[in-house]
Amino acid sequence: MEIIGERINGMFRDIREAIQTKDKKPVQDWAVRQTDNGAAWLDINTGAGAEDQMAAMKWLINTVQEAVDTPLSLDSTNYDIIEEGLKLCKRPALINSCHADRYKIERVFPMAVKYNAKVIGLAMSEESGIPKNAENRVALAMELVAAADEFGLPLEDLYIDPLILPVNVAQDHAVEAMETLRQVKLLSDPAPKTVVGLSNVSQRCQNRKIINRTMLVMLMACGLDSAIADACDDDLMEAAATARILMNREIYCDSYISLFKTRKY
């Protein structure tokens, strides 16, 4: 289970201010804290508020890489910004993300191959939005899988996101996401990897942490490989480590939680 730390995001006030004032400390603190607590990747998002998003992305990447060598997930809807970012990454990065629209695939997949990057492929398109049921999500996932083959992106480098919505407004979507995960794992051999933006499930809910971690372990049982999530939520990380043990993904030992945090999967 790879946790992609979500905290370096301009939507958070401390990061937004750090970008504005070029204050490296809050960014690097979060990079270290998330890495030390078991984050396998660090998501980097400038937020919508940054004036010059290209400059902000470059500054965040360089700032984070000064502090840790954790690989980065470049989170932007502007692919030119992602491409400039990929040039700066010292380790192969994760492109977050690509819709299942043909023109986006044609922009993103060759770029991923060129920079040896991995791609988060969303099981949605501009035309269909987020499908209501698993069947239509899987159909879009299938297009992404076929495109990976077409453009020479190894399937292990494609992370399919079945998309999860806040449980208080779209309660019927969680089970569809779970079913999507099950079916995506049967699409090809080797199967693509899978990912979700976990915290989305609990937007504007009380008890966010318990919702997040319950969702995480349920999704893991359905085939989830990674999640963009709060890597500093100890309960969440412990639940992920424990689910791996219960799923017989590795041999039990008393120190399995600390082992999960140091090994990061």
């Binding site: 590795e250 041999i251 039990y252 030992c253 008393d254 120190s255 600390s258 082992l259 090994r263």
Partner: protein, 324 residues
């Protein structure tokens, strides 16, 4: 009809561990031994690499082991009171890759040898042979902590294989290995969970995985061999899947366990249907070894020269690449 061979791809491999140190490496060994490194289940040469063959470490005891079966004592007649001569015979006549020296006389009931006397014994064996040495104590924690630490210091740089570190007693011996540049045997009681936990605790002290050999404990033929086999197999599968805390090469005390069995020891006069005891005992040891080779054992600690001859032949055949 052509047969399609289904091949597993493994993302990881067993760690390679070097035992013994040459003059350039800070020791005095004329040969060193490399174990581990395999990237497939044992002997599946078509699925991965097996760069290092399993090795035989012959067991030598620092007191005349009167309790050993006469059949095992016979080949060593005349040297059973002299560990250095015994070790030399193992290397010169039986082709031992290593010597596994038990400092049993440190036991208060079996000689109560002082750490100084134990050091002298180890040094005499080091002088007599050029192969790497494993040195273990008598099995009493307090005694062994003193003896093995003293040996580690006196033989600093030799890269001895020192044992045993166990879940309840590992600090002293691991520290000695770190300071004086030796390798440790991490012994667990036929329990894969404790095996992994112990490796974590040892590496957390600062000893790298490349300085650890796993002794998962084994049972001889008829006495838990199946458990040993499945634990060895699970550990190897874990290693191949990338579980670094189960990736160290393994050691098994084959001779000791096989010759504990009643079936290896009682005479044909008692059980006529069982056949000649000498042959039976040798086969008991060789069969135990052959089975555990298939579970991925890297270091076989053995006793009888004839059993060793049979097992070496078996290893030679298993290490021959096949046409797949």
């Amino acid at each position: 009809m052509p047969v399609q061979v289904l091949k597993d791809r493994n993302p990881s491999s067993v760690i390679t561990v070097t035992l013994g140190a040459s003059k350039e490496q800070g020791g005095t060994r004329t040969t060193t031994v490399k174990v581990g490194g395999a990237s497939s289940l044992p002997f599946l040469h078509f699925e991965g690499e097996a760069p290092n063959r399993p090795v035989i470490a012959m067991e030598v005891v620092d007191r005349n082991p009167a309790e050993w079966n006469e059949e095992v004592r016979k080949p060593f007649e005349g040297v059973l009171d002299d560990p250095a001569a015994w070790a030399k015979k193992c290397v010169d006549e039986c082709g031992a890759d290593m010597i596994f020296l038990r400092l049993q006389s440190a036991d208060p009931d079996l000689g109560n040898s002082s750490p100084e006397k134990c050091i002298a014994t180890v040094k005499s064996v080091l002088s007599a042979v050029g192969v790497p040495l494993a040195v273990v104590g008598c099995g009493i924690d307090e005694v062994d902590n003193a003896v093995i630490s003293a040996v580690a210091e006196a033989c600093a740089g030799e890269n001895l294989l020192l044992g045993f570190a166990t879940q309840n007693n590992y600090n002293t011996i691991v520290a000695a290995c770190m300071v004086h540049k030796h390798t440790v045997i991490a012994q667990s009681p036929l329990d894969i969970n404790i095996c992994k936990q112990l490796n974590i605790m040892i590496t957390e002290m600062g000893l790298p995985p490349e300085k650890i050999i796993i002794d998962p404990s084994i049972g001889g033929l008829g006495y838990g061999l199946e458990y040993s086999y499945s634990i060895g197999e699970r550990g190897r599968l874990g290693a191949l899947q990338g579980d670094k805390m189960l990736s160290m090469p393994t050691l098994g005390t084959i001779g000791m366990e096989a010759w504990k069995a009643k079936e290896a020891n009682v005479g044909a006069d008692e059980f006529p249907g069982w056949g000649d005891q000498a042959e039976r005992g040798i086969l008991w040891e060789a069969t135990t070894a052959a089975a555990l080779l298939q579970s991925g054992l890297d270091i076989l600690v053995m006793r009888h020269p004839e059993a060793i001859r049979i097992v070496k032949k078996n290893i030679n055949e298993l290490m021959t690449k096949n046409s797949l």
